[in-house]
Subunit: 147 residues, 2 copies
DNA sequence: GTTACAATTGAAACAAGTTATCAATAAGCA
DNA sequence: TGCTTATTGATAACTTGTTTCAATTGTAAC
């Protein structure tokens, strides 16, 4: 996982200013293993930057997502959650027990995506994969009742 | 693709009433190849059922999604679009040119998901895969400029 | 260290999505 | 046909997301 300073460098290198709002959002995301909604990010961010505006949170999340530093987490009922990201094309394991998010690169997916593109005559430009289930910790806590 | 009558049967079999609102939403979805937002579904649905309420559209979409008859389509900026579904666990190719949506089952993904589960000690219960790109038609129209 | 400038902000307003309420309606069964 | 209960639709309220714009701020240049 990249340090905050490295993430800040990504911002600079991409030509964006390193503002207090953006650093606050980055920091809040860096400090959690799971998903956060925008309101939570905003509230936590205000502890670091009291004037942090709600709109700035949305703007920062959008920018950070574009840069591969944050990511929307999608679910059946919407996609109002965010998590930090380590790769722009990373994929997620989202634990339905504790909410923990585990990112993974997936070369296996790249091959599958290529194969699907050929099979359906579709030029894939972007792919999104998310897996939901239970992490090892929640499985152990469950007493192995999971499938 | 299932006929409207077959979809209606899915509703009945699941213990839900076959109401005019639900049939209107199903019909609107069945009549398009692409994604629709809720306002569009509502407007089109009112042509079939003039009293169709906005909230009933959201309710119907949620239920139909649970039953595998409709589906949220996720994107980088949110998931405010819907498409018809043929499978509950189907996956999508979403064309960024014409907006057409192509659903596909994916046994290859199931194997990959199993492998990922083992690798990360994660009991996968649900997975979401979406691919964005250009369909064959849009590729041809582009003059093969795609990657 | 100061200045200038453009990016960025934050508040307010607006739009879209979601939830809740509830009286009225309607689907479906007997 | 009547009854029961699921469902509706209107309304309101709330949450989430976007737009506008004057004010602020980050940073480069000097």
């Amino acid at each position: 996982m990249r340090t905050l300073e490295q993430q800040v460098q990504v911002l600079r290198a991409a030509g964006y200013r390193v503002t207090q709002s953006r650093v606050a959002v980055l920091t809040v995301l860096a400090e959690t293993d799971g998903v956060l909604d925008a309101a939570t990010i905003c509230a936590a961010g205000r502890e670091l930057h009291p004037k942090l505006g709600r709109v700035s949170v949305y703007r920062a999340l959008e920018l950070l997502a574009e840069l591969g530093l944050a990511r929307r987490v999608h679910g059946a009922n919407g996609c109002r959650s965010y998590a930090r990201a380590n790769w722009q094309e990373g994929h997620y394991l989202v634990c339905q027990g504790c909410g923990q998010v585990q990112e993974f690169p997936c070369d296996g997916l790249d091959r599958l995506v290529e194969q699907l593109g050929r099979e359906y005559r579709f030029a894939v430009r972007h792919h999104l994969l998310q897996l939901e289930g239970l992490c090892a910790g929640c499985l152990d806590a469950d007493g192995g009742s999971a499938s």
